[in-house]
C-alpha cells in the first residue's frame, strides 16, 4: 500500500506544481496511524502531511460540492465506491464536472479502529498493515489481527472494485473481488416477525443522539438546507425528544435518499452509537431492485432514478410487501 501512497503523493505534487489543478483533495496525517482526516492540499509544502493508508475510509466526494465551485480545477482521489457518489452528485448538478480531475485509486478494503478496539485492545498507539495481517501496538502490548475481522462495515460487503468514473488511475495491485452479501442482513430482518423487527429497530434507534453525523456525511444528503433544520418544513426537529422523532428522522432520511443512495456506507461508519443505518438504505435498494429492476445509483451520471420514473405495470403498494414483484 505504501507504493500506492507514494505514487499518489508524486502525482499530487506534479498536478500542483504544473498548475494543472489548484488543489488536491486527499487525506492528511492525524495524531495516529489510524486517524487520517480528509484534507485539501493547495501547495506542495502542504503535501508533507499527505497520507493514504488502511484508515482512509472516508468518502471524499461530498467535499466537491464546495470545491468544484472554487477557482481552478480540483483533483480528487476516489476509491471505487466513492466514484458512485461522485457520479450521483454530478447527475444532481451538485458538482461541476469540468472543474474536477478524478484520480481513481486502489483500495484493498479499509479498516475500522472501533473494531480493533472492540477486540479488547486499548490505548492503541501504532498500527501496521502487512497484506492480510494487521499488527496493533498499544500501551498494554501488541496484537496481530486478521484484516478481514477489522474491515469497515461497508468494506465487508464491497460493491466491487471498478471505478465508475475516472480521469486517470493509480492502481498498482489487483483489488479484491466484490462481496455480494449486502442484502443478507436485510433479508435476516425481513425474515423476522413485525414485533421482532420493531424491537430491533427500537433498540437501535433509541441510541440515536440526533448528532446528524449520518446526514452530514452522506453524499446524497446534499441539501442546501435539510427539512429537519427548516422550520418551514413542518417536520423540523433538532433533538429527539421521543422515540417517534428518531424514527421520523431516519425514515424520512432513508426515503429522501432512496434511489439516490449509492450504498457508500458512510452513515454507519460515522454513527457514534454504531447504529446500522446502512440497513435502512439497503432495504430501499433491495426493494427497488426487486420491484422495479436492478438499479445502482451512481453507475452513471445521468438519467432518472427509480422514484422519478415508473412503468404502467408497476406493482400495487398493497401487494409490494417483501419487496418482490408479484
Amino acid at each position: 500500500m505504501k507504493d500506492v501512497e507514494l505514487k499518489m503523493l508524486e502525482r499530487a505534487k506534479q498536478l500542483l506544481e504544473s498548475g494543472e489543478v489548484a488543489r488536491v483533495i486527499g487525506w492528511k496525517k492525524g495524531e495516529f496511524y489510524f486517524d487520517p482526516a480528509p484534507a485539501s492540499f493547495e501547495t506542495v509544502e502542504e503535501l508533507g502531511d499527505f497520507v493514504y493508508n488502511g484508515f482512509c475510509g472516508a468518502n471524499l466526494s461530498k467535499y466537491l460540492i464546495q470545491a468544484s465551485k472554487k477557482e481552478g480545477k480540483t483533483a480528487i482521489f476516489l476509491k471505487p465506491c466513492d466514484s458512485y457518489s461522485f457520479n450521483q452528485l454530478v447527475k444532481e448538478h451538485r458538482i461541476v464536472r469540468e472543474n474536477i480531475h478524478v484520480i481513481a485509486i486502489e483500495c484493498q478494503g479499509k479498516l475500522d479502529i472501533e473494531k480493533i478496539k472492540a477486540q479488547g485492545i486499548s490505548a492503541v498507539t501504532e498500527v501496521e498493515e502487512e497484506g492480510e495481517s494487521v499488527t496493533v501496538s498499544s500501551l498494554y502490548g501488541e496484537t496481530k489481527l486478521n484484516k478481514a475481522e477489522i474491515l469497515l462495515g461497508k468494506c465487508a460487503s464491497c460493491k466491487g472494485k471498478t471505478h465508475q468514473v475516472k480521469d486517470e488511475e493509480i492502481i498498482l495491485h489487483e483489488m479484491p473481488a466484490p462481496i455480494n452479501n449486502r442484502f443478507d442482513e436485510v433479508a435476516k430482518l425481513e425474515a423476522m416477525t413485525e414485533d421482532e423487527r420493531f424491537a430491533f429497530w427500537r433498540e437501535q434507534l433509541q441510541k440515536c443522539i440526533r448528532c446528524n453525523a449520518c446526514r452530514n456525511v452522506c453524499p446524497a444528503c446534499s441539501c442546501v438546507k435539510c427539512v429537519f433544520d427548516n422550520p418551514a418544513s413542518g417536520i423540523e426537529a433538532k433533538a429527539n425528544d421521543d422515540k417517534f422523532e428518531e424514527q421520523l428522522f431516519h425514515i424520512i432520511r432513508a426515503f429522501h435518499v432512496a434511489g439516490r443512495c449509492t450504498d457508500c456506507g458512510e452513515c454507519s461508519r460515522v454513527c457514534p452509537q454504531n447504529i446500522p443505518l446502512h440497513l435502512l438504505n439497503r432495504k430501499f435498494i433491495k426493494d427497488i431492485d426487486g420491484l422495479y429492476g436492478e438499479f445502482q445509483a451512481g453507475e452513471t451520471d445521468n438519467g432518472k432514478t427509480p422514484l422519478t420514473s415508473y412503468t404502467e405495470s408497476d406493482v400495487e403498494p398493497n401487494n409490494a410487501l417483501g419487496g418482490e414483484a408479484k
Binding site: Y310, E312, P317
Partner: protein, 151 residues
C-alpha cells in the same frame, strides 16, 4: 384481563384518508350522495393528486395518533395529471414496505384507487379499512407520546 378486553372493544380507530380531488374525493362525494355509509372515524383530506401526499404527511398522521392512513387516487392510467399516481404507486410501495421493515404493521397503511364513479367502492374500501384497523388495534409504534400527554 377483563378490563383489557372491554377496552379493546371500545377502541375506535382514527383514520386519515388522503383523497385526490379528481377521482377519489369525487368518489367519496358519490358515496355520500348515494348514502353509502362508512364509519365516522374516517376523515378525508383533499389533495389535488395522490402524488401530493408526502411521506411526511403519512408519518405526521401517525405521530399525531392516527391509527391508519389510506391514500386514494385515480386508477393508474387515469390520473388527472397524467402520471401523478404512477409516482404515488412507487413511493408508497417503497414507503409502506419500509415502514413494515421497521416493524410497523403492514395493515396500517394502504393505497386504493377509487374513481369518481366508484362511490360504492369508496364506501366498501373505507368500511374494510376501518374493520382492519379496529382489529389491529391502536397505533402504538409510530405515535408520539408527547402528543398524547395528559390523556
Amino acid at each position: 384481563m377483563q378490563e383489557v378486553t372491554t377496552k379493546k372493544k371500545e377502541f375506535t380507530p382514527n383514520i386519515v384518508a388522503f383523497c385526490c380531488n379528481w377521482c377519489s374525493y369525487a368518489g367519496a362525494d358519490l358515496a355520500g350522495s348515494s348514502r353509502l355509509s362508512y364509519p365516522a372515524n374516517v376523515k378525508i383530506i383533499r389533495v389535488p393528486c395522490s402524488c401530493r401526499v408526502n411521506p411526511t404527511f403519512v408519518l405526521k398522521a401517525f405521530q399525531q395518533g392516527a391509527d391508519g392512513v389510506i391514500l386514494c387516487g385515480c386508477h393508474p392510467g387515469d390520473c388527472h395529471y397524467v402520471t401523478g399516481n404512477y409516482y404515488t404507486r412507487r413511493r408508497m410501495a417503497l414507503l409502506f414496505n419500509f415502514l413494515n421493515y421497521m416493524g410497523i404493521e403492514k395493515e396500517r397503511t394502504r393505497v386504493e384507487w377509487v374513481s369518481a364513479a366508484e362511490g360504492q367502492r369508496f364506501s366498501a374500501v373505507m368500511n374494510d379499512f376501518v374493520k382492519t384497523i379496529t382489529e389491529l388495534g391502536e397505533n402504538k409504534r409510530l405515535t408520539d407520546l408527547r402528543v398524547k400527554e395528559g390523556e
